[in-house]
Amino acid sequence: MSAPNITVPLYRAAHGRTGDKGNRSNISVIAWHPDLYPMLLSQVTEQVVAQHFAHRQPGRVQRFELPGLAALNFVLDDVLDGGVNDALNLDTHGKALSFWLLDLPIEIPAELAPLLEGPP
């Protein structure tokens, strides 16, 4: 019988930063511990991220894997309402978007709970 899973927000398993170029955003998702990386790989997929950002209507979501850093890099096309010179958003760069992604719920095997960051 497999160990029970617990559901936690992604920010307990990973951290990240958003960058922008033109109308394109990139968001890194970096595991707090290498043992948490497989859960990111299996659950934080291109499809899941595209769905999570559906209101921004991404033209394309690409995921790049960086196993040496236990990190994923997501590239979201057309999500910045034109980018820094065009968007009406106060945050024209989309600087806050990593925190939108880090709110995503993910499932973690209970025995890995000690590797999670922050208060439970």
């Binding site: 951290h15 170029k21 209101h55 790049f64 850093l69 890099n73 820094v84 009406l88 106060l90």
Partner: protein, 453 residues
């Protein structure tokens, strides 16, 4: 100057136009204390910074360089020159020659021996003679636009050449950010312009440096998750680069912040798309197999970076006038504040049907939302008790755009109960077109500034 194999220190004292002007002091102090060959770089350009600089140059032919140049450089210029710390920056922005002359005058005013200052030129494609080149790439997109600036992102070669010719200060405009680091490394180690692995490693060292404090705990802190000591005094980075381009990232001594694995990982991936192909004018860097490892307190080693042949084309950004941005804000607080703010937004929508309004309910839902309001529409109304309504719209004609600030102001007497704290603004906008041009179409050069007569 002949190539060297001794490690090179490169400190970065600015990560954008408007960065802290007290950043350079501790970086220079550390470079002096550590001894050996060293450079100081300032990265002060972003996508819209150059267009704004070009507008200032239009108004004043002696302006158009980084407005904080004097404040950034004056506190450290004498020490840098005295200790042979050479300075490389893109703070020339839209007018590198005027920036160089300003530095020359600053040095003279401080009683310093005249430094050898080089000006890198060729990135500015805003002149009429470049119009056919841009039109060949952008075609009809150029029709009817009022161009403000056009700049190619140029690489490290002209910087390296200027340093090889003995420049103590190199003033550039739209040099790609990492090239500010690659140029000094090429010159110091005598690398060839097709030594792809070494250029790629130095490029990623430059990438880690180019946002200043962002690799030292700036833009990182998240209390309870990512705690940063003495963030108020966050230090700026210093890279130690060896003759193969490998680097250790550290920071200025006696400063706050932290150089941690987690923070350096975030910055390594910042503004990167495909990690196997980070494009710069100098090289295509591949960090898909990159590794970071701790190398002592506030020190992190980067390894595993590879390089591939540089792109055949250079990226060009063309900025043009983009109409007007109108914004207005008003606050509601206390019971039913969110409901009153939502009603105020509805009033504005009904009064301004010609404008596509963006609505933010600051305190309930704002910057996470999209301009079209899809997220706001699908988010059930809440009962936030302190909400600042912000509306924004753009229009090609000023007369149309300025109706928005007037209607927001009118909410004082005509809107929902208890609205206060109206602020409005009307700003000219700049829009950007991007294209690629063949490298050969952008001749680059440097010139040593003549001594003052």
């Amino acid at each position: 100057m002949s190539p060297s194999s001794s490690p090179l220190l490169i400190g970065c004292a600015a990560g954008f136009s408007g960065d802290r002007v007290d950043a350079a002091g501790p970086v220079v102090d550390t470079l002096i204390a550590r001894g050996g060959p060293a450079f100081l770089i300032f990265e002060t350009l972003a996508e819209r910074t150059l267009a704004l600089a070009q507008l200032r140059r239009r108004a004043d032919p002696q302006a158009g360089f980084e407005p904080l140049l004097d404040d950034m450089l004056r506190p450290v210029l004498a020490r840098c020159l005295a200790h042979n710390i050479r300075i490389v920056s893109n703070f020339g922005a839209a007018n590198p020659l005027a920036a160089a002359r300003h530095i020359q005058a600053m040095a003279a005013g401080m009683g310093l021996a005249a430094p050898r200052i080089a000006v890198v030129a060729g990135d500015d494609l805003s002149g009429a003679q470049h119009e056919p080149l841009l039109r060949a790439q952008l075609g009809a997109a150029m029709d009817g636009i009022r161009k403000v600036s056009a700049n190619a992102y140029i690489g490290a070669e002209a910087i390296a050449a200027a340093l090889n010719a003995g420049a103590q200060i190199v003033v550039a405009g739209r040099v790609a950010d990492p090239s500010l680091t690659v140029g000094p490394a090429m010159s110091h180690f005598g690398w060839r312009a097709d030594d792809w692995d070494r250029l790629a490693r130095a490029t990623m060292a430059g990438h880690l440096l180019e946002c200043g404090a962002q690799v030292c705990g700036g833009y990182f802190a998240d209390p309870g998750y990512k705690d940063v000591p003495d963030l108020h005094a966050v230090g700026y980075p210093i890279a130690e680069i060896d003759s193969d381009g490998h680097c250790v990232i550290g920071k200025a001594a006696g400063t706050g912040g932290v150089v941690s694995l987690a923070g350096v990982k975030e910055q390594l991936l910042y503004e990167v798309h495909d990690p196997a192909a980070y494009l710069t004018p100098d090289v295509v860097a591949d960090i898909s197999a990159a590794q970071l490892s701790p190398a002592g307190p506030d020190r992190v080693t980067l390894s595993g970076v590879r390089g591939h042949a540089r792109p055949a084309n250079l990226k060009v950004n063309v900025c043009h006038e983009g109409g007007w941005l109108a914004e207005g804000e008003i606050s509601y607080a206390g019971p039913r504040a969110e409901a009153r703010a939502r009603l105020a937004a509805e009033v504005l929508r009904r009064r301004l049907p010609e404008l596509a309004l963006r609505v933010d309910l600051i305190g309930a839902l704002s910057i996470m939302g999209d301009d079209a309001g899809r997220l706001l529409a699908q988010t059930p109304a809440g009962d936030a008790r302190d909400v600042r309504l912000r509306v924004a719209a753009t229009h090609a004609e000023r007369a149309q755009a300025e109706r928005l600030p007037r209607e927001v102001t009118a909410l004082y007497c005509c809107g929902p109960a208890g609205g206060g704290g109206v602020r409005t603004s009307l700003t000219p906008r700049l829009n950007t077109l991007s294209c690629l041009v063949p490298r050969g179409a952008v001749p680059l050069r440097f010139e040593m500034l003549e001594k003052e007569q």
